[in-house]
């Protein structure tokens, strides 16, 4: 899933400062799963904005609504009658949501309420970890099913750098050295030879380096 974290409330309050009517828009997709952008969090953020307004002597009219997904025009359409009545929309979906809203409602002010972090998953309750860099050409089968592009701090493709220590990356004791994991798994499986082969430079044409990406599936295009 796409993992996000809430923006500091002070940052959001700066965005909506002086506005009278604000809509907080949640999303039932990934951000609900990572406890940052669902109906519950929309309610909390809406209350925070109301309270902050009251402290300044302003009664801010804060609406709350949560869409099935914000990365789909079909669901974005659902708020077509209410968006125009607000001064601004704070979307707490990932970075896709506020952009789909901005495109569909060109007259609306749309603010991001979360910081979109990465593609990953929960490794323990309350702890999420990155797994995929979205490079567009998956190569994890060469590395025991683990991705050095996303998970090695230097995206090394031919083995661990000299900074690997006690299974951790040189940049932080909180970051696993993925190459340590790749090597150990290969040894456990008796397949170390697989890692001795030279992995040539990767083509980044399918990654963000190739420009903003788009995918077309002809059979689905109406």
């Amino acid at each position: 899933m796409i993992v996000a974290e809430a923006k500091p409330i002070s940052e959001i309050l700066t965005m909506v400062k002086g506005l009278k009517k604000v809509l907080v828009l949640g999303c039932k997709g990934c951000v609900t799963v990572c406890n940052v952008g669902g109906a519950k969090e929309a309610g909390i953020l809406a209350s925070s904005i109301r309270i902050a307004g009251r402290k300044e002597g302003i009664m801010v009219d804060v609406g709350e609504h949560t869409l099935e997904r914000q990365c789909d025009p079909e669901y974005i359409e659902e708020v077509k009658d209410i968006v125009p009545s607000y001064d601004a929309v704070v979307s707490i979906a990932c970075g896709v949501g506020p952009q789909f809203l901005s495109e569909r409602y060109p007259g609306a002010k749309v603010f991001p309420g979360v910081n979109t972090k990465f593609m990953g998953g929960a490794v323990a309750h309350g702890i999420w970890s990155e797994r995929c860099a979205g490079c567009g050409t998956c190569v994890i089968h060469y590395f025991g099913g683990m991705c050095p592009i996303a998970r090695c701090s230097k995206s090394l493709m031919n083995g661990p750098c000299g900074g690997s220590s006690h299974g951790k990356c040189e940049i932080s004791k909180d970051v696993d050295c993925i190459w340590d994991m790749i090597v150990r798994k290969a040894m456990d499986q008796g397949r170390l030879n697989d890692l001795l082969e030279f992995r040539p430079p990767k083509s980044w044409t399918t990654a963000r380096d190739g420009g903003p990406r788009r995918m077309i599936r002809e059979e689905l295009v109406k």
Binding site: K154, N158, G163, S165, D180
Partner: protein
């Protein structure tokens, strides 16, 4: 036709079977090259080539190619270092052409310290290619006269290709294989991380020799003399991938007051002498950090002078 791959002094010394001795020098954090020239003067005649570091520890310094040229003009052969952190494949290849056209003949290919450690931690890193891929790029440019895209090069750059190896980083079991990968990718010589744990290094070299890697590539053992007990403790605890045994720290602590640096030099000299006898070791790479003025003394004590002229 010359039998040399690049014809650098370092290559000639190694190929002649002489025990090589290389030094290291960091470019200035500014455009003032006075001190760089002084460092070069200290190293002149003491070593066969001098590594010119490339934004080492991710701290911005004068570009390694520019500092390499300064050193070359001072009559010292540079070993131009390049890290993958700061350059994509276009920049890497164009710098290879550039340095060769100005007379640089050695190059060391490195991944580079993560920018988190440096003075611009907010930077975006590159890592378009990794160090082993870079080795292969430089070899392909030299031996096949081709860029990465297969396009022919008008006058291919002929560089003597170096790489680094850290026998002490984890996972230990893989280190000798990573070295083998670097050699297979095209490394002509290897400079190791600073060695303090001689027992473990001897074991590493035994594996290197058993695999015959020393016959495919020249291996230079890394030495950094300890200046103080504090430095030893810092290296032991703070520097990732460094193996500093307690016995070494104890010996430094045991030195008479004010004599820790002298003891550090003595230890480095003993190491160099041991490396001269160690199977598979073709030379020593002395990283005397901000101690360039002590290199002659170390070289003399270790019997490394005069340097061979090949």
């Amino acid at each position: 036709m010359s039998d040399y791959k690049a014809g650098s002094n370092l290559e000639k010394v190694l190929k002649a079977g002489k025990f090589a001795f290389t030094g290291e020098c960091g470019p200035p954090q500014g455009a003032n090259i006075t001190k760089l020239k002084e460092k070069a003067a200290h190293l002149k005649g003491c070593v066969d080539a001098v590594n010119i570091t490339d934004n080492q520890t991710a701290v911005v310094r004068m570009s390694s190619w520019a500092a390499s040229l300064t050193v070359l003009q001072e009559g010292v052969e540079p070993n131009f270092q390049m890290v993958c952190r700061d350059r994509n494949r276009l920049a890497a290849q164009s710098d290879v052409l550039g340095v060769y056209s100005h007379g640089i003949r050695n190059m060391l290919c490195l991944s580079g310290d993560h920018q988190k450690f440096g003075n611009h931690p907010e930077a975006k890193n590159v890592f378009d290619i990794d160090s082993i891929q870079l080795i292969n790029v430089v070899k392909t440019m030299r031996d096949e006269g081709k860029f990465m895209n297969g396009q022919e090069i008008d006058v291919p750059p002929k560089l003597f290709i170096g790489a680094a190896s850290n026998p002490f980083a984890e996972p230990y079991e893989f280190r000798v294989f990573r070295l083998a990968k670097k050699i297979a990718a095209g490394a002509d010589f290897i400079q190791t991380q600073c060695i303090y744990n001689m027992v473990r290094f001897r074991d590493f070299m035994k594996r290197v020799v058993d695999m015959g890697l020393h016959e495919k590539c020249y291996i230079l053992a890394g030495v950094t003399p300890m200046k103080s007990v504090g430095m030893a403790q810092y290296m032991a605890k703070q520097v990732p991938g460094m193996d500093v045994p307690d016995s070494l720290i104890k010996r430094l602590k045991g030195a008479p007051k004010g004599k820790a640096a002298a003891e550090g030099i003595k230890m480095a000299v003993e190491q160099i002498q041991e490396f001269k006898e160690m199977p598979g070791v073709a030379g020593v790479h002395l990283m005397a950090i901000e101690w360039e003025h002590r290199v002659r003394e170390i070289a003399e004590l270790a019997g490394m002078l005069p340097r061979p002229v090949v």
